[in-house]
Amino acid sequence: MSFQASRPNLLAAPAVAWLLVFMVLPCLLILSYAFFERGTWGGVVYDFTLENFQRVVDPLYAKIFLNSARIAGLVTLIAILIAYPAAYAINRAPKHRQAMLLFFAVLPFWSNYLIRTYAWIVLLNREGLLNNLLRMAGYDGEPLSLLYSEGAVIVGLVYNYLPFVILAIYSTLSRLNPELMEASRDLGGGPVSTFLRVTLPLTMSGVAAGGVFVFVLSIGNFVTPALLGGGRFQMIGNVVYDQFLTANDWPFGAALGMVLIATMIILLFLQGRATAHASGERAGAPS
């Protein structure tokens, strides 16, 4: 490799070193516990075993895992369905207003995650804003139990990660040459055909990036399920949390974590490939 080619690598060295020392190494250490036995009083006994992984596929945990994946999938779908029109509208707004609109879209991000989530408790509980509004509108039945349900968890997760998806989709939309949409119109495509055959395919990389991001963050999330789902609702993140902090079973927690991380890596890999495909980085031109 030439001097010039190696220079960017050198420039990235501090960042890579930081990630290696403070991120990858600790993770690997923790994950390595997955192959050892649990001590009687907690802690790790360094005897090699695959037992932890056998427990992971136990129907009890597999069910929680699949349920978490289902919820994360729903969250992702809803987030995309809300974020796409929002990003589209922002991109259509006059240039000088777009920065302000984006600022508002990400505004919730500037507040603390916990506070944002607690805000939903205030909104959704039986004495909360929503129920009060309903009463004011003339509803006089039992207050609705909106909180501590799967729906509340989904709403909380969508709300929390929506800005990511809006940003990801907006960034691909804003880089799209508007003349491509006009060319489609010019060639006889109506607004719907133009969207489905030109705009959407060309912004799929943003949808995938935002979607994978939300999915990955949702499936491992334990704060929102704990707060908005109440005690009766568990996602895989809560199980991992419990293994490390309550059950003191670090090896099993590590094994669960490994499955989660593997899922994320596979998804990120697929998304990376989809993006490369979309931007035409594929080699090998058929001729």
């Binding site: 040459n177 003349e179 491509l180 006009e182 060319a183 489609s184 119109r185 010019d186 060639l187 006889g188 495509g189 109506g190 055909s193 055959r197 030109v198 395919p201 060309l202 979309a278 035409g280 031109a285 058929p286 001729s287």
Partner: protein, 352 residues
């Protein structure tokens, strides 16, 4: 304007069309008639409103005022996809995620034609535009010239009544551009579709167009056949913009003679007062035996067939450009005295 009335109904009538962007009058009260099967060029410097005019025709900008009549019907209420004309974008705007074949069939699929018909017409247009070998490629795998042909084919395949081309050759290098100028003209003849082509290159317009219109700051300055505009430019701007033109400022005397320092050209009938004389380099003769306007040779540029002499004369700050056959001037050295003759019939006079 020199727009002679024709017996034939124009295919496209642009009637008092205007468009402003804030304070900028991008297109300012332009009226034009485009004839059937005409190769029409819109020529003007960058920013004069050419693209805006085309975009109004295609339906991507709403006119501030004025009408667009296609075959006699006002197309203003039609959205772009419903207009029987097509625009070839300056950026080509090829769909990057589709193969060339898909790019070409897109417009026909939107018309919901039968698969066999679509395939037949795609094959046909690919053959005409030499694109057959690239059918399965993506646009990014093509050269600039090939992309240009795809963009052209993608519009042509729709068989529009009028094809609008926004600087179609702008992104190509000089050699390819010259070849494509003739190619476009041949193709236009073959398919029998009215072309309106936008360019800022006056030479390109002269080579290709049956008729052309010159725009400046959104306004139409002149419209006519290339020869007509070259020979009889309507004003100083057009004279300067089309081809090479020498300008000499002076005054017209009451007895009809243009006078400048050491130079006098009879201009019978011209209004008296300060004026600018415009003359083409090829309309100035060099007289070897003295007589005429005295000057000295500052520079000479060899162009193969002919030579452009730059001659400094007293009447004019910038040296005059004089085009002479190369073989008659080989022995002239820089600085040598030279005498010029101006034919009054080939001069244009613009009052200041």
């Amino acid at each position: 304007m020199n727009q002679e009335p024709t017996a034939q109904e124009p295919i496209l009538r642009i009637d008092g069309l205007s468009k402003s962007f804030g304070p900028v009058r991008a297109v300012d009260n332009v009226s034009l008639d485009i004839q059937r099967n005409e190769f029409f060029a819109l020529l003007g410097p960058s920013g004069c409103g050419k693209t805006t005019l085309l975009r109004m025709l295609a339906g991507f900008e709403t006119p501030g005022s004025g009408r667009i009549l296609l075959d006699g019907t006002d197309i203003a209420p039609l959205s772009p996809e419903k207009r029987p004309l097509n625009l070839m974008f300056q950026s080509y705007a090829l769909f990057p995620h589709m193969t060339i074949r898909k790019n070409l069939s897109y417009g026909l699929e939107m018309e919901r034609l039968a698969k066999t018909e679509i395939n037949h017409r795609v094959d046909e247009i690919m053959a005409v535009t030499d694109l057959t070998p690239f059918a399965e490629r993506k646009p990014e795998q093509l050269s600039g010239g090939q992309k240009q042909r795809v963009a052209l084919a993608r519009s042509l395949i729709k068989r529009p009544k009028v094809l609008l081309l926004d600087e179609p050759l702008g992104a190509l290098d000089k050699k390819l551009r010259e070849r494509m100028q003739l190619e476009l003209k041949r193709l236009q003849h073959e398919v029998g579709i009215t072309f309106i082509i936008v360019t800022h290159d006056q030479e390109e317009a002269l080579v290709m167009a049956d008729r052309m219109a010159i725009l400046k700051d959104g306004r139409l300055l002149q419209c006519g056949a290339p020869e007509e505009i070259y020979e009889h430019p309507a004003d100083r701007f057009v004279a300067n913009f089309i081809g090479v033109m020498n300008f000499i400022s002076g005054v017209v005397t009451p007895n009809g003679s243009f006078e400048a320092d050491g130079l006098s050209v009879p201009m019978p009938g011209a209004a008296a007062g300060p004026a600018t004389l415009a003359i083409r380099p090829e309309s100035i003769a060099v007289s070897m035996n003295g007589g005429g306007i005295a000057g000295s040779l500052v520079d000479a540029a060899y162009h193969g067939l002919d030579r452009v002499l730059h001659v400094k004369i007293a009447a004019c700050e910038t040296p005059l450009q004089v085009r002479v056959p190369a073989h008659t001037s080989a022995d002239l050295g820089i600085g040598s005295p030279i005498h010029l003759g101006i034919d009054p019939d080939r001069c244009r006079l613009f009052p200041d």
